[in-house]
Structure formats: C-alpha cells, structure tokens
Amino acid sequence: MNKKQNQEKITKEVVITGFGGQGIVLAGSILGKAAALGDHLESTLVQSYGPESRGGACSAQVIISTDTIHYPYINRPDILVCMSQSAYEKHIDQLKPGGLLLIDKDLVRRMGKRDDYFSIPSTRMAEELGRTMMANIIMIGFLTAITHIVSKNAAKNSVAVSVPKGTEENNIKAFQKGFDYGQAVLKGREKKAAGRTGAIS
C-alpha cells in the first residue's frame, strides 16, 4: 500500500489468530507499527485474549488505511492468518469472499473447498532456526511477501525494534526466511499459471 500513488481511500483489514503464547499480538503489533511508522499510513491494532496467559484463543486485528480509522474492530477481514486449527475453525467463515487466507501448513488442516490459500510451515522452519518462538516472525515475513500490505523495509525495521534486545539478528533472519518462502510460492504460482511444470508446492 502506498499513500502517494493512491488518492482514493484504501483500507485493508487483517486478522491474525492462534493460541496465546505464539506471539500473535506481537505479530499484529509488528504489522501495525510497520504501517504507521515505516509506511506512514494509518493503522490500528486491537487484541483479544482470554483470562489465561497461554493456550487460550488469541487474535490480533490490524486495520491499515490511507485514511483515519474510526472503528478499530474487524468483522470481515481481507486477510486472515491462522496459526492454529481452532483459530482456523473459529475465524474462517469471517473471511471476505476473495480474501486471502494464510496458514501454518503443519498446524492447520483446511476443511471445505477453498483452494485460494497460502501456506507455510512457519513453526517447523522456526524450529529449524533453533527457536519455535520465531514462527510469528516467519509468518510476518511470509505475509509481507504475499500481500504487500506493508513494504519489506518497513516490516523488517518494525521486527528489529519490536523484539527483545540481542535477538534482532536472529529475528531478521527469520523474517527473511518467511519472506523468501513467500516469494518462492508466488513464483511457483506464476509458473503454474503459465502452464509450466516443476512449481513449488
């Protein structure tokens, strides 16, 4: 999204969901911060979680707009990110027709017929990087590559200032992994659409 190119009002609504403890709210905060501070757009983040600190259902709602945002809640997201099966089941019907679904490949088994979705094994990739906790950062990299809702630079800077001191380098690495994976998936789809074989998943 770019403020200068678009004179008309553009608003994108993103819901990120999963379990408490997966860094869902932090992922939302990174996204909102990237839009507000990096790309100079308007953005709001609201969170919902239960009284328990880990394991309960958790969601972050991020609105990014070229215009002032009055109402900060989302009923029908343009983009839905699911990091757990229960979150997927709870939120999938809210996704706008034609909206984008992004899921963790290993943690969410899709039901129904939707084919228009993007998946990434973000938790497995984070484990391979040595810290499961970074799955949310990988997902933000993936989301940035697939949706372009924020610029790559803004997202990367936002990751760097949002994670604990001393972990910046590893988290940027995780972000880049997710971003590269997203670009590869898009490239694979292009090839598929052009009728070539050998596409990536």
């Binding site: 501070l37 953005s43 709001t44 983040l45 919902s48 239960g50 109402y71 809640y73």
Partner: protein, 381 residues
C-alpha cells in the same frame, strides 16, 4: 537511558501512551496495584520512573495505592495511580480523602466489564456514575474520557495540569479497548508541552493558611518539610486545616471544594463537535464509543440523515450548557455508551424536557458496533 519525554513517533497502546503522558506532565511517583487491563500502565511506569529520578511502588492493595499517591503529593510530587473496576471501588474512600484535603493527583480507570470481577479482559464504560458519586459525601470531580492512544497521551497531561490547578484528584475514565489498542502516538518536544504546577505559598510561614482560597478559588499548596504549618485531615476543617465540627465550617469547606470547580467550568470542560452545524440528530458519546459514533455519523450522512456528534472529552463536570444549547438546535439526541444508561441519564436531565433522548447501550464486554447506532439514527425523528 531514555529521557522523560520520548519525543518522536511511536506505535503505542493506550496504556503505554497514558504512562508516557504522565511522565511528560512531570509525574515522578506512581503507587499502584496491578489489575487487568490497567497493568501495563504500572508495568511501564516501573520500567521508566527509576531512570528519570522518580519512584515506583507496588502497594499491598488499591486502598494503599491511593493513600500512597496522596502522601507523595503532599511531599511535593506529581503522582498517579491506575486501576480497573474492582480496584477503583477500593480506591473510593481515599479519593474522597484527596477531595477533602484538596490533594492534586491523577487516577486512571481502564474500565472493564462489571460488576465485581466481571470481564477482566473486556471493555466497558460502566463506572461513569461511580466516577461521579462513588465516594461518600457531596463533591465535585473532574473526569476525562480519551478516545485514542494519541489522545490519552495529551489528556493525561491535561489531567495533571487540572489537578495541579484546582488541587483535586482528576480521573481518567478510559476503557480496555483504548487501553489495549495500539495506534501511532506522536510526542512533541519537551519545550512544546505545557505543564502546570501547583501554586507555591508566599509570605510568613507562621501565618500561612493551606486552605485559604486564592483568586481562582484555590489555595496555594505547601510541601511538607518546607517549614509551613501543615495540618491535613479528612475531618471537616477550617482554612488552617484544623478540624472544626460546626455547620458553618462544613458550609465554608463545601463551598470551597465545590465552587473551585463550578466557577471554572469554561476552563475545565472540553468537548468536540463533529458535523453538528446543520444536524437534526446529535449523537452524544465519549471515549471509545465516540469512535463508533464517528463511523455511524459518517455512514448516516451518506444516507442523507443529518447526524452529528458531540464528543465529551470532559465527562465530569458534565457539559450541561453544551447539551442544553444543542437541545435548542437538534430534534433528537442519541447517547452511545458501553453501559445500560449512565451518561444517558445526564443527557436526559439536560435535554429531555425539550427533545427525545435515546440510548444505544450495551452491558459490556465489547465495543458498540456502528450498525447499532445507525439503526437508531435511521428511525424517523
């Protein structure tokens, strides 16, 4: 080490923006007890205050938290505490002590669903009447209701300035939604932030009266240890601060603590008008519900309905004159708030004998969706 004023652009929750507003206003003492959804204010103050020469203390409960800020205020500091419903109830007695002893301080209530333990992680605006009348006795109070993280930053500064000017506890009645939502917060440079400090006494120390009203109805306030004779009591007291159990002393003290507010309404009350100039229907709202109302007003205008919004930034003292004037202009008022009718009662009191007043309320736990407001705006006037 970070400075007291974090000049620059941030993506803050309302809670953090409130804490930063307090620091920018000069707050150097926070006494509190953690409670969802206000904990982040205490957490942020505990991280920030020691670095800038301030003090953070976690007290044993909210009764003590409120007592601690009254004490710190008489020691000369600007102080704050933050809580939510159950803690606000516990603070009531000592808020009264602060009113009676004319002690400047700021109390933040990040409202959640009640009564009792209620809905700890979900928002409401149902402590508005408690804010007005929760402590015993008759008194005046100031309560502000910001609608965004940016606004809570500025209104926290205003709350400190009002508390220092009028010598009383000032309440910030925010809610879980504003407290926990994140948005861009721009913090100006320290020199561009207007802060007010209580008037210091002058003249002979042995003749000084700590409760003798000055020109604006407020007495200068000494700091304990400066050598002024200071007697501070919750008993009815004279201008020296000594207890006097008489009808005359009660009358004089009550005039002092109420007139300083009621005689300065123009200086205290802030409201914002939105699309009201040609409006037939005025929505009256505050805090996060005013954001819902803004969306609803814009949508209604698209449908050709002449709606506007009067946003109450100051809820107490109640903007009576503003509502009464508006009642002469519009044909209907709609109050929007996350409770089952509290500020609605005040709007009805001020406008109800002239025009119909409707309520869009909700028992708490969530924001009111704009659709609920639009449905009422669509009804024939």
């Amino acid at each position: 080490m970070k400075p007291a004023v974090l000049t620059g652009e941030h993506f803050f929750t309302g809670d953090v923006a409130c804490a930063e507003g307090a620091l920018a206003a000069g707050c150097r003492f926070f006494g509190g007890y953690p409670i969802t959804p206000a904990t982040e204010i205490a957490e942020h103050m505990s991280a920030r205050l020691p670095d800038i020469g301030g003090t953070f203390i976690q007290m044993e409960d909210e009764i003590a938290a409120m007592a601690s800020i009254l004490g710190a205020s008489w020691a000369g500091l600007k102080c704050m505490t933050a809580t939510s419903g159950p803690g606000f109830s516990l603070m009531m007695e000592n808020i009264g002590l602060g009113i009676c002893t004319e002690t400047p301080c700021v109390v933040v209530n990040v409202q959640r669903g009640g009564p009792s333990t209620g809905l700890p992680t979900q928002g409401a605006q149902s402590d508005m009447m408690q804010a007005r009348w929760g402590s015993h006795g008759h008194y005046e109070i100031i309560a502000l209701s910001p609608a965004s993280p940016q606004e809570i930053f500025y209104q926290t500064i205003t709350a400190f300035n009002l508390s220092e000017t009028y010598r009383l506890p000032v309440l910030i009645m925010t809610d879980e939604i504003v407290g926990h939502m994140s948005e861009r917060v721009s913090i100006p440079s320290a020199k561009d932030i207007k802060t007010v400090s209580r008037l210091a006494p002058k003249g002979r120390k042995d003749r000084f009266k700590p409760f003798e009203p000055g020109p604006n109805g407020v007495a200068p306030m000494p700091t304990v240890g400066q050598g002024y004779n200071v007697h501070v009591t919750g008993l009815t007291h004279d201008e020296k601060g000594y207890p006097v159990m008489s009808v005359e002393a009660q009358d004089e003290m009550m005039k002092r603590i109420t007139n300083k507010i009621t005689n300065n309404l123009d200086d205290i009350i802030q409201t914002q008008s939105y699309r009201l100039d040609d409006a037939d229907i005025a929505v009256i709202s505050y805090g996060v519900s005013a954001r819902t109302s803004l969306s609803a007003v814009d949508e209604a205008r698209k449908m050709g309905i002449k709606a506007g919004l009067l946003r109450l930034i100051t809820v107490w003292p109640f903007p009576e004159d503003q509502i009464r004037r508006l009642a002469n202009q519009v044909k209907k008022m709609v109050t929007v708030e996350i409770n089952l009718g509290q500020i609605f009662l005040e709007v009805q009191r001020c406008a109800g004998n002239k025009i119909p007043v409707a309520l869009v309320g909700h028992p708490g736990g969530t924001i009111i969706p704009p659709e609920s407001v639009i449905d009422v705006l669509k009804e024939p006037v």
